[in-house]
């Protein structure tokens, strides 16, 4: 089982690397297309007055809705965690619980991301959590904290896949004993939003 688990982890890691690389490529393409479209808009001097269309009332409405901050809830499901969040503008506040192997971690998270309609968004955030465990003939508790860097890739308007990487400082305590460690964590999971973006 352990070997299978290890292989699974490797596969997951590869998938995530691919996703991160893909994200890089996507941005590259997006930027290029953005730059080329901007270039063409400014370089094309052959436009006449009649070519400049008056914006439709519908378009104005759509633009005005963009200015009000987005407000919606989100459920996060990942390996191995479940979370609830609240997205307001480009901020996301959430609580997250992760369980497994006799270890439970409950964390509060706050993150900020680019507020745009792009398919893949980078974000950065802070996590603070409490740990409790009853495993390896030991009972105890602890705390964890870390700053995470992540990417969120929208599959549809209200479902996204996210992965994040963060160094986390872990302190666990049982009886008179205490251990402090710095670890690196990779999270991945799906986010289900209440409302479309």
């Amino acid at each position: 089982m352990d070997k299978i688990g290890e292989k699974m982890k490797v596969v997951f890691k590869l998938l995530l690397i691919m996703m991160w690389c893909n994200a890089f490529n996507v941005y590259g393409e997006n930027n290029e297309s953005m730059i080329s479209s901007t270039k063409s808009a400014f370089s094309d001097t052959s436009l006449t007055k009649k070519d400049i269309k008056k914006p439709k009332e519908k378009d104005i409405k759509e633009e005005s809705t963009q200015t009000t901050p987005l407000e919606r809830g989100v459920i996060n499901l990942g390996y191995p965690y479940i979370g609830l969040g609240y997205n307001y503008g480009n901020w996301l506040y959430g609580i997250r619980g992760a369980f497994g192997n006799g270890i439970s971690v409950y964390a509060f998270r706050i993150s900020i991301f680019e507020n745009s309609n792009k398919k893949t968004l980078p974000y950065i955030g802070l996590e603070l959590g409490g740990i409790s465990f009853d495993t390896y003939s030991l009972e105890g508790n602890g705390v964890e904290s870390g700053i995470f860097f992540g990417l969120e890739h929208y599959i549809s308007k209200n479902i996204s896949f996210s992965s994040e990487f963060y160094p986390v400082f872990i302190t666990v305590k049982s009886g008179d004993y205490r251990v402090n460690r710095l670890e690196f964590v990779l999270n991945f999971g799906f986010n289900f939003y209440w409302r479309n973006r």
Binding site: F12, K13, A98, F165
Partner: protein
């Protein structure tokens, strides 16, 4: 710019993934810390048992004779709840440099889980000797098979007397939690009885105007030694509420039950008196007498009282002295049917000690107006003797020997003793250090024996007069509210408040 940031992020990720090892999910990241914690916890220790007697050395008693059962206890602790190696918890006893016959002794598991500390015990009798020492040992096997040897430090003791009376030691008994005052008497069976103030409960009361009041449910209790070691504890007077704190309203400082004294008459009846709080500014003098197994309680006086003491005469009638502010020294005597009261106009600054002579006349000693005084009644008249001038003094103990000669022990920046010889008083300095809480008696040779507390080193001392000089002995830590009792056969015991607010009794073992 963004592009470079993202490239950096990916490089960081890849590097972390390759070099440091990245965990998928936080649970995976916590695991190594828990594993390391387990490895750290894979250890065991030997500790003192957190019980009366064993808290500091794992041995009960530290003193005894060849018929005393000495009990050794040690606590084995392993946070992973793993037991020690089978039969590996051992007691090593040395006499001089060598282990005694049979040592090391395998200790028996008594109680508790290994995680919190399992107690192991061994009881043994020992031959006379004052050069014993001991230590505990246990073996623990780690997860990886490594064997760890655990030992405590080597402790001296116990002292085992030969029972001939040439030598002796103080056997310390741990009895109960206590707050103030102790008074010790031996009963007709030669067993020590200790009256003391114990508190069982602190009551918090929230007042309407937002302040918080704290009360202690003080009780007058009696502890009696039942056998070699066990004390029976009973309540004598309950529901005595004492204010202990009200920092918000600058009320008078905590006033507590004080001046607890007891006395045994020739019929072996024990009488107890104490001062308790009647109102916030008034005290009451309470008299307790045991009658057919029940304690009869009566209030003898009230007001601004201090310095109470009691003695009984040859008719077993009690005599009581106390000081009442604005009145003077009060003297009460039971005549068989009622209390007779007399007032002597003099000031007493601290304790008053009373003793009845063989003619049933009262003798009192006290410090008043910077003088140590002897007040006595003879043929119906009161006489005050100014013994000597002293700058300070609070604790006084008066003793009359078989010839009715007064002996007085008092503190006046040091511990002193005066004895009347003809018409003069002979002064002796016993201990030059500052002394408080003293108690004195005459031994079977009519020589004073004294227990006293030295604040400087927070210790209880015992002083006796041997071969023309004072011999001083440090008995234990603590020692406030000490009370000394002696039997005609020469048994000695001292009750006192120990270092950890525990009522203790030091019994002299011959």
């Amino acid at each position: 710019m963004k592009k470079y940031f993202e490239i950096g992020l990916i490089i960081l990720f890849l590097r972390a993934n390759c070099v440091a090892g990245v965990h998928i999910g936080i649970i995976d990241a916590v695991k190594p810390a828990v594993k390391e914690l387990r490895k750290k916890s894979d250890n065991a220790s030997l500790e003192w048992v957190d019980e009366f007697y064993y808290k500091t050395d794992g041995l009960d008693f530290e003193c005894g004779n060849s018929s005393t059962t000495f009990t050794y206890k040690v606590k084995y602790k392993n946070w992973l709840n793993k037991p020690p190696k089978d039969g590996s918890v051992l007691l090593h006893i040395f006499k001089g440099e060598f282990e005694i016959n049979g040592s090391p002794f395998v200790m028996d598991y008594l109680s508790g889980e290994f995680k919190r500390g399992a107690v192991y015990k061994k009881s043994i009798t020992l031959n006379a000797g004052n050069d014993y020492s001991y230590y505990f040992e246990a073996k623990y096997v780690k997860d990886d098979g490594t064997q760890v040897n655990l030992t405590t430090s080597k402790m001296p003791g116990p002292k085992v007397t030969d029972g001939t009376g040439n030598d002796g030691c103080w056997q310390i008994h741990w009895i109960d939690n206590m707050s103030y005052e102790t008074s010790l008497q031996f009963d007709k069976n030669g067993k020590p009885n200790i009256f003391y103030v114990g508190n069982d409960e602190i009551i918090q009361k929230d007042l309407e105007y937002g302040a918080t009041y704290y009360y202690v449910t003080d009780k007058i209790k009696l502890a009696t030694l039942m056998d070699e070691k066990n004390w029976s504890i009973s309540d004598i007077d309950t529901n005595i509420y004492t204010e202990i704190n009200d920092s918000d309203h600058y009320l008078p400082p905590p006033f507590l039950i004080s001046s607890l004294h007891s006395n045994v008459d020739l019929n072996e009846d024990i009488r107890v008196i104490y001062l308790g709080m009647k109102t916030r500014t008034e005290l009451k003098l309470i008299y307790l007498k045991e009658t057919e197994g029940a304690w009869a309680k009566s209030e003898l006086a009230s007001g601004a009282l201090s310095g109470v003491d009691i003695c009984t005469d040859s008719l077993s009638y009690p005599h009581i002295s106390y000081y009442k502010s604005g009145q003077g020294i009060n003297y009460l005597k039971w005549n068989g049917s009622s209390w007779i009261s007399e007032i002597i106009s003099d000031i007493a600054d601290g304790m008053i000690s009373i003793y009845c002579d063989s003619s049933n006349n009262p003798h009192l000693a006290y410090v008043g107006n910077k003088n140590l005084k002897h007040l006595y009644k003879d043929q119906g008249n009161w006489t005050i003797e100014n013994i000597l001038g002293i700058n300070s003094g609070y604790f006084v103990s008066l003793l009359l020997d078989v010839n009715n000669i007064p002996n007085i022990v008092y503190n006046a920046s040091s511990l002193n003793y005066v004895k009347k010889s003809g018409n003069t008083w002979i002064i002796n300095n016993i201990d030059e250090r500052e002394v408080s809480f003293l108690s004195a008696k005459l031994d079977s040779n009519n020589l004073p024996v004294i227990s006293y507390y030295i604040p400087e080193d927070n210790s209880l001392y015992f002083a006796s007069y041997k071969n023309g000089s004072w011999v001083k002995e440090n008995i234990d830590r603590g020692g406030k509210y000490n009370s000394l009792a002696v039997t005609p056969s020469g048994n000695l015991a001292i009750s006192y408040k120990g270092d950890d607010n525990i009522l203790k009794c030091a019994i002299w073992i011959k």
